[in-house]
Amino acid sequence: MAARLEITLKPELFDAEGESILRKASDYFNFSLQKVRVIHVLTIDARLGKDELEAIRREIFTNPVTQLSSYEPVARDFDWIIWVGFRPGVRDTAGSVAMEAITDYLDYSFSDDEAVYTSKIYQINAPELTREDVEQIAKELLANDTIQQWKIFPRAKWDEKNGIGIIIPRVILNREPTVTVFPLESDEELARLSAERNLALHPNDIPVIRKYFLDPEVRESRKKVGLFYPTDVELEYISQARSDHCNHNTFRGKFHYSDLSTGEKVVVDNLFKTCIEKPTLELQKKKDWVISVLWDNAGVAKFDDENNYVITGETHNSPSNIEAYGGALTGIVGVYRDPMGTGKGAKLIAGMYGYCVGPRDYDGDLKPRLHPRRLLDGIIEGVRDGGNKSGIPTPFGNLLFHPSYLGKCLVYVTAVGIMPATIHGKPSHEKTTSDGDLIVMCGGRVGKDGIHGVTASSEIYSEHTPAGHVQIGDPYTQKKMHDFLLEARDEGLIEFITDNGGGGLSSSVGESARFSGGAYVELDRVPLKYEGLDQWEIWVSESQERMTVAVKPENWERFKTLSKKHAVESTVIGKYTSNGKLHITYEGKTCAYIDIDFLQAGFPQWEFEAEWKSPEQRGLSEPVLSTPSDFRKLFHEFLSSPNICSREWITRQYDHEVQGTSVIKHLGGRRRDVPNDAAVLCPILGSTRGLALTQAINPTYSAIDTYWMIAATIDEAVRRLIAVGAQFDKIGGVDNFCWPNIQYDPINNPDGKYKAAQLVRANWALRDICEAYEIPLLSGKDSMYIDGNLPGRYGEKHKVSGLPAMQFTASGIVKDVRLCQTMDFKKEGEAIYVLGNTGDELGGSEYYCFLGYTGLNVPKLDPQQTIPLYRALQAAMEEKLVTSCKSINRGGLGVSIALAAFAGEVGAELDLGRVPTNESLTSEKILFSESCGRFIVTVSRDKRGEFESLMADLPVSLVGQTLKSRRVLRILDKTGKLILNEPLENLKHSWKKPFARLG
């Protein structure tokens, strides 16, 4: 008999969660609620007696100081009740921890049909609200229908005795696992079946697949194991491996590029090979610190003589767009498995984020599934819980608002790890599987999570149908696994390790089996969350928190013992072989038998038409604008604009200091509330060597030319690293592309050829700039299809394609963290220098966007100009000549100097006539141009000579000084006229105001 335990805070205690819902209801919908109290519900579906239930209520689940609890309804004096619980099959970590605790306390063992489920009751006082209003709160604030269910009770309909009743979201599938075979009558027939089953086989691949299975030799060998036609397990395996996500078919495609303005035509065969792989491998030959790139789950670079760092980045756009919290949480927790699965496994030392969403206050006609406000809140919270609960600092991140991301949001997540260079005398970045090694699955169990939907007919919806497709990451389970695997690694028990992400076992086993040359898997040994999964589902399920590990049979006992100690489930599901086959069985019967090298064999390359039109051909021009007469008002409103203003409310929610390694924090300055250019960590405690990390993203430049968007973005990341004190020669990069669909279609994607050309140009820039700056691409990923179809006012759907974007993550070695610098002005009476030329480059700038323009003159990077400057600045910092250093980024010199001044609470005077420029520029252009390669630096009076001699022959000028006693920003135009003289406090207030109440 199930029991429902309700736990709530004592009435005299402040309910912070309730209060935050109250605030959001007002913020999102303008509803005024009087009071919200939250009741936590545990539905205990187990054969426990009254005394046992009472014991666990009292001893485990109720804090006598703060809480009240009862097996009777506890809600009193309310107008509405909203109950929200998970749909069946959704990961309920709190429920499983409750089971763990009950097991421990009562020595009770739960049988397979018993469980504990958590849910929440929101008790709302708001007499004015209608049922529709309450529905809206439930649907758009408290619950997400992809993973949750809810019920609403008005006061009048409340059952005092039974409350919400007993709701048990148990998965019951009631079906026998079945393998389906696919006849091979014709290409068309296979294509039809593929579509019907949502297999997503590419039409071009179908003849290759048919040819393989019809090959007489193949048929002969398959016959011996009882197979004839391909099974769904096999086709799912092929489909997963050939997917754009796993195989990067777009980047490996052939592009027929023509430049319509010059008539030039060129065929680009494989962007990945020519623009990413080749330059990086060449740099690897030159730079001995590049340890392992381009093949493993993450890149490996040398940190110091004993340690290597590991870095990679991912995106999790589509899932976050559907379920913001769960999608983002799964994203960050998922990317953390990449360093864990790199080489023999790395310890995680940092995570970072980048979000691109629609305007937070969007009130236009389009109806995105989740309003950007709710979407962003959910994403922020998902990454927060994923990072904080993993015990991994989140020291840096980005946020950009742009209406083009209403169609689909971008959620970038980056993971950094560290590992000893050698383990048991062997390089830790090397790994392989060998004939006879056991295939071990560690971590969570397998359910329908992340499995694409099959046809509606094969699954009838019921209240016990699992909410597949969407996953919720579980950092707690993964943290246990992380600690366990590091211990196993250090004991030398791991031969090979990789994570189960996209494609699940299909990818992890399929890829690791290529090393040994085969694998034998018994799917019936895979531990399941619930019965009734088909074989193919077990094989491709993306249930989270799992790693696949190769363990030598003689090490299995020890591996298992450690696994048990860490409360992690590890199961042998098969063994690696060398017979060239991927052989999968279920209860002794073969359900897949396929050549392991089949995927390498002759699949056709994807092809794209790419047509470039120059910005001028597209009709872009510079706006006709005169110099503003009210710079004061402009500064205040510009500093308050969404892409410039403070994001402290996000930064503070992220634990950026766990592990005790923090040297330069995301926020700095006198009040510790202004962002630094990069974060610096000391990952090896006791050492003063540091790792600087930063990210940049500038999609608005894509509206003009993606070549320069990429160039400017890489440069921004580099100059951010230089600004804190990283070494120019030891910078590694991670490129994360997010692009709209580039496949031309006259109806659905009429500008597909242009978008394809944008991608080609972006890759050319990536190649050119990385070659010039000698930045190896340690890792990178691409995420295509950042498009959405949004309903408008009249039921018509609008396709919204996101601006092409690349987030560039840069990592750099800091020789001695004690020489690092921050952006804030430190002292009165110091010289302020601007380094680097300012040009008439406001195309795509924040200033133009702010005034409603795109412009034409996008910032153009010239590495020959910037490299000598970066080296000179690095030398100046090493010589301790610099007292603050800020790279000039979004918003230009005007914003950057304001930030540096109010961060330090030190007044500053800036003479625009002395700023180094390429040509004669108006005041607003000097202030808001976003030319690359520039810094603001302060130098104390006694070091000026030394500094200036280091900077000789470079575009560096003394532009003003920090002021004695007056905490103002003074700006003089070229004629010496004072165009701004504003207290820093006021400027800072404007900058902090927009999101202040969210903190």
Binding site: A16, E19, F61, V97, Y105, K389, G391, Y476, K480
Partner: protein
Amino acid sequence: MERVKALILTGYGLNCDWETAYAFEKAGADARRVHVNSLLWGEEDLENYHIFVFDGGFSFGDDHGAGVILAMKIKHHLGGAFNRFLDDGKLVIGICNGFQVLVNMGLLPGFEEEPGKRKVALTWNDCGNFRDQWVNLVVNKQSPCVFTSGIEKIELPVRHGEGKFYAPQDVIDTLVERNQVVIQYATSDFTPAKGRFPENPNGSLGDIAGICDSTGRIFGLMPHPEAYNHWTNHPDWTRVKQNGKREDPFGDPEAPGLKIFRNAVEYCENNLL
């Protein structure tokens, strides 16, 4: 010479074990990271240690109240051994999640008239969010706490979602009366914050950031001294450095966070070895 041994708990979502072990090592202890199960299964004997450390993290995911499940587990399986450890005059420190564990075990405040009873709680921050920031802390010189001896004020980071110290007024009065309030959130001039946000980052009653038991040998605090293990951890170090001439801008021979650990090690050297 025999060294003081510190047991740093690991496993089940705890996550400050590495830096806490490092801090204890720097302070002169022999620090061992020990998995919860190694203790419960008897692979490690409490008796061999002088200091027991409940470090920070999210034990058991914190889903049923921070520190609740770990407290239950330790009390349920290790109660006897733990009591012997305390009876031997040894030291216990709980940091962040560890503080939450100590109050849920009833070891803090540990009033003699009601031993083992839960009298105080650490509940959700008033601001409604997890929060990472540095705080100023003023130390009660009258407190018997051995960990803070000789320290008058200190700056440390807090990083938590459930750090609001809550207890009925009479309990708070007793804590104050008995000098069991060890550290309080303070303003920039190191006077108690009087509840003002963000100086008091979570709404803790009485600005209480850490308390000890009546002996001063059990100490729990929300801030993280182990995360101030080097002067470059301090958020202002580049500013302070610029304004002075020293290589080490704060002029401390060791990072202030480490003093708390050194006090513990020295106490054990003097009393337990």
